[in-house]
């Protein structure tokens, strides 16, 4: 009887080890790689997944946790940052604890446009955004930014196909990016 139990235990352990190896050596490495690839795509405006931020739609920029989570899921999310709220002017400020000179300017410019479109589209009463780096500051108002788009930003952010054509595709052209930054953003050096 005890010998039979020993054999049963040995069989169970072998089965368990095989399943464990399958999970740890095959499934989880593949899953981690997929996750890393997704996170890399999320840091680039050209490959960002819009559906990951639609849950942050809100009427009020005063819902600070919601707004912070929104920017935590947009490009530039990996930069060390802090946030400030100005309820008087309905402006949300993101303080990046890095200098612009140390980053890819192309990526940052695209991200500022993309993030602004997303924030103005999802947060209904947001009127202004301020992106403060250690060496430069960019500010933009909803009024100036919205003029560039034919449709309301709130409509664009809810329709993936419109978002692709109206927001993402133009960002592939550096000239469009530069022109938009010059037209809509107010730049100051610090």
């Amino acid at each position: 009887m005890r010998h039979k139990k020993d054999i049963s235990i040995a069989i169970l352990l072998v089965i368990g080890l095989l399943i464990l190896l399958g999970i740890e050596c095959v499934y989880r490495p593949a899953q981690e790689q997929r996750q890393q690839e997704y996170e890399t795509r999320q840091r680039d405006p050209l490959t960002h997944d819009l559906s990951s931020i639609q849950q942050y739609k809100s009427l009020y920029m005063g819902d600070a946790a919601n707004t912070i989570h929104l920017f935590g899921n947009l490009p530039l999310q990996d930069l060390p940052s802090s946030y400030e709220n100005d309820p008087e002017s309905l402006t949300f400020q993101i303080n990046y604890n890095v200098s612009l000179a140390s980053l890819s300017e192309q990526l940052v410019m695209r991200s500022l446009i993309y993030n602004s479109a997303a924030a103005f589209g999802l947060i209904d009463n947001l009127e202004g955004l301020r992106y403060r780096f250690l060496d430069k500051e960019f500010s933009v108002s909803r009024a100036d930014f919205s003029q560039y788009f034919e449709q309301p930003l709130s409509e664009l952010v809810q329709t993936p196909s419109l978002w692709e054509s109206a927001v993402k595709e133009p960002l592939q052209d550096d000239n469009v990016v530069i022109a938009l930054i010059e037209a809509c953003f107010h730049k100051t050096s610090r």
């Binding site: 139990k5 049963s8 235990i9 169970l12 089965i15 368990g16 999970i23 499934y27």
Partner: protein, 224 residues
């Protein structure tokens, strides 16, 4: 089986079927039959004689303090450790899928694997014990302990059930909001919260088996 035998069987029902208890049962039954025969020879009716015999043994309380068995330490330890290994192996395998998506499940599964390794080491060490070494074990204490462990497990499980339900659905219940489960992944996370505590069932099962292991490892009868 006559009424006297049924009566004695009922008295001995709550005692384990140890060699000594079975011998005591046979001895008491034969003594009572002798007493009945004696009463019948003195003119009592069969009914009166049986009633007298039953009244002479109203309970077996005198046995309670004597339920200690002598067991082979090696056989006892090997039996228990083998059962623990079996229970832990099953618990480990059923919690393996949770390694893929549930942090607590991964931690618990790793803990079970470490317990299996520890129990396996103890099992091989127990095989080195001398077969002649014996230990005295109180079977009634083990049975009481087993009952308490089952009660504690039931309380733990019910408390955990209430806590998980409160954390997951408390707001829904309080504000009368409908419960939404947004797909199989969320369902799996919820199921894990309920299922993982149930895997601790191996503990009361292992403690319960100790009584059986005691009987299987008995080397001589208990004291009268």
């Amino acid at each position: 089986m006559d009424s006297l035998e049924r009566y004695i069987n009922q008295l001995f029902a709550r005692y384990p079927k140890t060699q000594a208890n079975l011998e005591a049962q046979d001895e008491i039954l034969s003594n009572l039959r002798a007493r009945i025969a004696d009463d019948l020879s003195h003119g009592l009716s069969e009914k009166e004689a049986i009633a007298n015999a039953k009244n002479s043994i109203p309970s077996l309380d005198f046995l309670d303090s004597k339920q200690r068995l002598t067991v082979s330490t090696r056989a006892f330890a090997l039996n228990i450790l083998q059962h623990v290994l079996l229970c832990l192996s099953v618990a480990w395998i059923v919690t393996l899928p949770f390694r893929m998506f549930h942090t607590s499940g991964r931690i618990l599964n790793t803990a079970y694997l470490l317990m299996i390794i520890a129990a396996g080491i103890l099992y091989f060490l127990a095989r080195l014990l001398s077969p002649s070494t014996v230990t005295r074990v109180s079977l009634r204490s083990l049975q009481k302990a087993s009952r308490w462990v089952w009660i504690l497990f039931a309380l733990f499980f019910l408390l955990d059930l209430a806590l998980v339900t409160g954390i997951r659905f408390g707001s829904n219940l309080w504000f009368s909001r409908p419960i939404h489960i947004n797909g199989p992944y969320q369902f799996a996370l919820l199921a894990a919260d309920y299922f993982l505590p149930a895997t601790f069932l191996w503990i009361p099962l292992a403690v319960q088996h100790v009584g059986k292991a005691t009987l299987e490892a008995e080397v001589q009868g208990d004291e009268a």
